[in-house]
Amino acid sequence: MRRETKDSLAAGLTAVAAVFCVVLAFGIAVALLAKSQPILATSSVGRLLLGSGWHPMRREFGLLPFIVGTLWVSGLSMAIGVPICLLTAIYISEYSHRRIRSLAKPLLDLLAGIPPVVFGLWGVLAVVPLVAKLAARAGAASTGYSILAGGIVLAIMIFPIIISVTEEVLRKVPIEARAASLALGATRWQTTKHVVLRAALPGVFAAIVLGFSRAFGETMAVLMVVGNVPILPRSLFDPAYPLPALIANNYGEMMSIPLYDSALMFAALVLLVVVLLFNVAATLVLRRLEKRIA
């Protein structure tokens, strides 16, 4: 085969693959929207999104507790996870010996490879009792199945993503920049803070966004420790019921209660839209950050 033919073949093939992936995302959104029509025909979007009663048998499908539950759990996991991840990534990239780095990286990759159900099980066995003890000490009545348990398990699940991406980004900062800073008499920490982190800021931000997206959609591990009670939670020791857990738990009743399948499809659509909005917002922020640095 001539190399020009090969080239046009490759161009065609890559284009088809790219189009397929983009169309797929649209396809999912369209399918979910179509499937949500029956429920949208019976109640308004406002009532579905802001209603707080979930009683499918009585045809009440308020999604607010689930949306709030999702925000609580993923927000908490970020609050716990991000500082630890950043410090770890900085240590591995800026301070640690090469040997420690070559040891830590495979271990982090291993953490990334553990299936969610194992994290969930570990959460049930270790984190839930711990949270129950904490709650008892704090004087709150809690079974341990709570937002806090969900947040902790989720935080650990996003560690490998955020750490490895952040570390990668930090190491991309040219060594000359560090050398210049150190030559001026700055300490390592000053160099890290004012030179490395500053240059790597957009990348670090992207890593955090990646972690958040993962946290948002994670289902099984959270479902196993979060308590699954459709209420508006008032404290970290309260149980919550995130959207993905709603869909996974009740997938089974889809065929047995009228409108239920449509309500769940709508919940899936809400999840998709929220993730999409979040990604768009993140991209905008990222652009501004890049501009500011350049």
Partner: protein
């Protein structure tokens, strides 16, 4: 981690992720009874039926080495949805079949019986009192439906225990919760309490929480080898006639055989006792039909061993007639 917790944990993990693949070993040497049946049957659904189905699948596979049966558990609702959407051939449904499911072409036969039992942590503050008095249905209603926060003293008459009862339920759409709710006059969605995934998960939660109460299918509340309640779990006796004490006819919770007898003799109320069903989309044909007929025939001899209760002869006969 204490050993029994590790055990439960491992069991939980195993079941949660299990897909029992009964591979056909191939080769004519192992082909018994000259069976030439070949194919694959996919089964999913109720945790309540899972151990039974695994046993049936093994035995059927021994007779028909050319048939592979995949069994997975995920709750009654998943079984119904999977079967009706064509993802599996047979759905295990441990509750009544909903009219909506019939409308979508659901065909079903009852195959065995078991029961949902209320459970509490064995170390609860009123354990001794509970064995003597049991709990009335009204108390269960107050806890699971009305969501009242009762103390152990208020519920079980133990003086001086200010500890609250902590109520657990199931998060997955399942027959056990639906049947328990039906006993209390409602549906699963009306059950209050912290919701945990899966039958083993709920047992685990109550085993770990000294103040916890929950409910489990017979075979998750009692250990299959010792026939005693699983470690750290006690079955709450039901004060059936509501007279505030347990008469001799109401106390049958010492071991699994005694409970099974009470369920078979209809002493234990129904619900929470119930038939376990197998659901197919439309009337089954071919291999699936053959497997179902075998379950209702020869398959019944494994029912008792596996810890379930046989259906009355007449019900079996009706089910066979329905299939033919």
């Amino acid at each position: 981690m204490r050993p029994r917790e590790a055990q439960v944990g491992v069991a939980f993990l195993a079941v949660a992720m299990t897909l029992v693949l009964l591979q056909s070993p191939g080769g004519a040497a192992r082909r018994s009874a000259g069976s030439t049946k070949k194919g694959r049957i996919r089964v999913s659904g109720a945790w309540a039926l899972y151990p039974m189905m695994v046993r049936w699948a093994e035995e059927y596979h021994k007779l028909n080495p050319g048939v592979r049966i995949d069994v997975s558990a995920g709750g009654a609702g998943k079984g119904a949805t999977d079967a009706l959407s064509g993802m599996v051939d047979i759905g295990m449904v441990s509750r009544d079949i909903h009219p909506e499911e019939v409308k979508r072409g659901g065909f079903w036969v009852p195959v065995v019986k078991d029961a949902v039992l209320p459970t509490a942590n064995a170390g609860n503050p009123a354990a001794k009192e509970l064995v003597k008095t049991g709990l009335k249905r009204d108390t269960f209603v107050a806890l699971w439906i009305e969501g009242k926060s009762l103390t152990w003293a208020e519920a079980a008459g133990k003086p001086k225990s200010g500890d609250p009862i902590r109520v657990y339920t199931r998060s997955d759409a399942c027959g056990a919760a639906e049947t328990w709710a039906k006993y209390l006059g409602k549906n699963q969605e009306d059950l209050q309490g912290v919701a945990v995934y899966g039958d083993p998960g709920l047992a685990e939660a109550v085993q770990r929480d000294r103040l916890g109460v929950g409910f489990n299918n017979l075979n998750y509340a009692y250990d299959t080898t010792t026939n005693k309640p699983v470690p750290n779990l006690m079955v709450i006796p039901i004060d059936i006639n509501g007279d505030g004490k347990l008469s001799r006819s109401e106390s049958f919770y010492q071991n699994r055989q005694a409970v099974k007898k009470a369920i078979a003799d209809l002493v234990y109320p129904s619900p929470p006792a119930r038939d376990l069903n197998l659901l197919t989309k439309g009337k089954p044909k071919g291999l699936t039909r053959d497997f179902l007929l075998w379950i209702l025939g020869d398959g019944q001899k494994y029912v008792d061993e596996a810890g379930y209760i046989e259906l009355p002869k007449q019900k079996i006969a009706e089910a066979i007639k329905k299939l033919r």
